[in-house]
Amino acid sequence: MLKALFPTLARVRFVVQLLMLLLLVYGSAIVGHYAAEKISGELPALSCAYDQQNAGYCILIPTQHQIHHRIGQGIVMAQKVTFGVFVPLIMTVLTFFAFFFVLGKMFCGWVCPLGTLQEWIGKIGRRFGIGLRRFEKGDLGDVKRVRPVKWVLLLGLVFLLPLLAGLGVAPHSLGNPYCDICPSRIATTLLTGNTEQLAVSTDDNISFTLNAIADLLIGFTLVGALAVRQPFCRICPLLSFNALFQRLSPMRLVKTKHAACDKCSICTESCPMDIKEISEQSGRKAYHEDCTLCGRCAEYCPQDGVITLKWGPFKLFSSSREYYKNKVKRELPDGTVKPVKIVKNAATPNPADA
C-alpha cells in the first residue's frame, strides 16, 4: 500500500513539498494566529513574514532586523557590546540551527515554498516541450559564474546593509533590503490572494527601487523556471546561509568513487542546480554548496550504493540500478516526462466483438 502510494523518492518529496507549501503559506489555520504560536521565526526555508496566513518565518528577516536594530544601534550608542546585544542574534541562530540540524539543506529541496513553485513550473515546461536550458558551456555559460551571486546577496543585503542602516550610515529604508527584493515575498502573498506586496512602495526612491527589483525577479523567475531549473535558488542567500552550516548537520549527501563515474554524468544531468561536481568528484567535494538535498542524483545514479542520502550513520536513500531502470521509464533525468501509453487491456473483451 505504502509502496503503491510512494513508489519513488520523487513522489515522497512531491507530497512533502505540497504539505510544506500549504503549511508555510496558509498554516496559521493549523498552528494559530500569532507569531509566537508559529513553528518558528528562524526557518531555514524562505517563508515570508509579510504573509499574514503562514506558519513560520525564515531566518533572513530576524537576522536583518537584529543586525539593524540591535547590533548597529548598539554600537552607535557607544554602549558596551555585551551579551545583551549579541544574545538575541545568537538565540536566533541557535533556533535556526535546531531546525537545520534535523533536515539540513533539505529545507531548500523539500520545504521551501519558492523552490517548490519553481520546480512545479519546470514540470509544466517539460510537459509542454519547452527546451531545458542549462548553466554549462555552450548554453547559459559556466555555472561557476552564477554561484558567487548568492554570497554577494547574503553578505551585502542580509549582513552589511542592515548593519550600516543600524549605524546610521545607510538610510533606514535599507534596514531589511533582502526582504524588500525577495521574490518569495511576492509569490507567497499572491498565493493568499494579497496583492499588497506586489504593489511597489512609492514612499521613497530606495523602497521603490527595491520593490521594483523584487517584482522583476518574481516575473523573471516565474517565466524563466519554464526553461531553467530553479532559477532563483541559484542566487538565493538562504542557500548560501544554509551552506555555511551544511557540514554541521548529520543530514548529507554521500558519494563514493566508482569507475563508471568517469564516463557517466547522469547525476549532473538530473541535478536541478547543474552541479558538475556530483559526477566529477566524490567524498566531501561531491556534497556541494549549491546542493539542496533533493535526492535526484541518487535516484538517477545507475550504480548500486554510489550516491546516498544519509542522516548520521543512517542511510535514508541509496542509488540502485533497479530503481534507476524504473525511474527512467517514467521521467528522464532532465525532468522530461515520458508520454503515458494507454494500452487496451487484452483480457477485457471488446463490446464490438460481441
Binding site: A36, A49, Q73, R133, V200, N211, D215, E269, P302
Partner: protein, 293 residues
C-alpha cells in the same frame, strides 16, 4: 520693569523643567493631567518617545484618569512575572518586559475607581521577546468591563484603514451582548457599533488619515505611519458607572503609498526579460535504461 518681566517669564518656563528633573523618580498622582487629548475625552495610555530607543522598555503616560500605577500582563513566564505593577511618575509609567521568554505581547491597564465611577484605560504593547502567544493572556479577565481584541494584529501587521477587526466586550469575564462600542480616531472620526449575541463587535477602521497625518513608525522612516485611536464602552451597574477604553494606533491603507500598477508592470517586464530563455530547444538526451548501467 521689562527686565523683571523677562526674569519672571524665564523662571516660569524653567520651573516645570527643573521640577521634572528633580522629581522624575517620584510617584505621581496624575491629577495634573486629568483630561484626555483634544481628539477624545476617553482615558488613554499614550507612549512617550524613548530617548535610547530600547526595544524592551517603554514609557506610557495615563491621560484622562488619575492613577498611581499601571499593571502589565505578560503572555507567559512565571506567575510573578505575568502581572507586574509599575508606578506612574512625572515621566509616566516606565514599563519593561518582565524577563526572557514571557512573550511579545503585553497588555497594559490603568484603573481608577471612586465611589461613583470606575475608569479603565488599556492598551497593548509589543516587546520583542519570544515566548507564548497572547491567547491565554487575552482570555484572562483583568477587570470588570473589558474590551478584548479578537485577535491582535500579528507581528509585522497592524490595524489599518478600511480593515474590519473584531473586539469582544466582557462584563465580569462574560461576553456582553448588545453593548455599544465607540471608535474615535485622532483624525476626527467617531463611529459606534454594537456587540452581537456573542459579545463581539466588528469595527471598520475609517479611511480618514490625512496624507501627512500620523507619526513615524517605531523607527523613524522605517515602518508605516501611525495614528491614534480609542475604542470605548460604558455600563452602569451596582450604582456605578464603568467606563473602559482600549487605545493604540492604526496605519494608512497600504494602497495609499504603494502602486499596484507599477508592481504589475515590473513583474511583466521581468517575465518578458525571461522569454528569450524559452526560445531555444535543446535536443533531448537519450537516456536508455542501459546507459552506463
Amino acid at each position: 520693569m521689562n527686565r523683571r518681566i523677562a526674569i519672571f517669564a524665564l523662571a516660569a518656563l524653567a520651573g516645570p523643567v527643573l521640577a521634572q528633573h528633580d522629581h522624575s523618580s517620584q510617584q505621581m498622582q496624575a491629577s495634573s493631567m486629568p483630561f484626555g487629548e483634544e481628539w477624545t475625552h476617553q482615558p488613554l495610555l499614550l507612549p512617550r518617545p524613548m530617548r535610547n530607543g530600547s526595544r524592551n522598555a517603554a514609557v506610557l503616560r495615563p491621560r484622562g484618569l488619575d492613577v498611581s500605577e499601571v499593571v502589565v500582563y505578560a503572555s507567559g513566564g512565571p506567575s510573578e512575572k505575568r502581572q507586574v505593577a509599575y508606578p506612574v511618575t512625572l515621566e509616566g509609567a516606565a514599563i519593561a518586559t518582565a524577563g526572557p521568554m514571557v512573550g511579545n505581547y503585553h497588555w497594559v491597564v490603568a484603573r481608577q475607581e471612586d465611589e461613583n465611577e470606575v475608569r479603565v484605560a488599556s492598551t497593548v504593547w509589543y516587546f520583542s521577546n519570544p515566548g507564548p502567544a497572547p491567547t491565554e493572556m487575552l482570555l484572562m479577565p483583568k477587570h470588570e468591563l473589558e474590551i478584548v481584541p479578537q485577535p491582535l494584529p500579528r507581528e509585522h501587521g497592524s490595524y489599518r484603514e478600511s480593515e474590519k477587526w473584531s473586539f469582544l466586550i466582557r462584563w465580569q469575564g462574560q461576553p456582553l451582548a448588545n453593548q455599544a462600542l465607540t471608535l474615535e480616531t485622532d483624525s476626527g472620526t467617531r463611529t459606534r457599533t454594537t456587540t452581537g449575541a456573542d459579545g463581539i463587535a466588528t469595527v471598520l477602521f475609517p479611511r480618514d488619515i490625512a496624507p501627512t497625518g500620523g507619526d513615524a513608525g517605531e523607527h523613524a522612516g522605517h515602518g508605516p505611519r501611525r495614528v491614534k485611536f480609542v475604542l470605548s464602552t460604558e455600563r452602569n451597574a451596582e450604582g456605578k458607572r464603568y467606563l473602559t477604553a482600549f487605545n493604540t494606533t492604526y496605519s494608512p491603507d497600504p494602497d495609499r503609498e504603494r502602486s499596484l500598477g507599477w508592481g504589475a508592470a515590473f513583474g511583466l517586464i521581468g517575465m518578458v526579460a525571461a522569454l528569450p530563455l524559452l526560445r531555444r530547444r535543446t535536443a533531448t538526451a537519450d537516456f536508455s535504461e542501459n546507459k552506463n548501467a
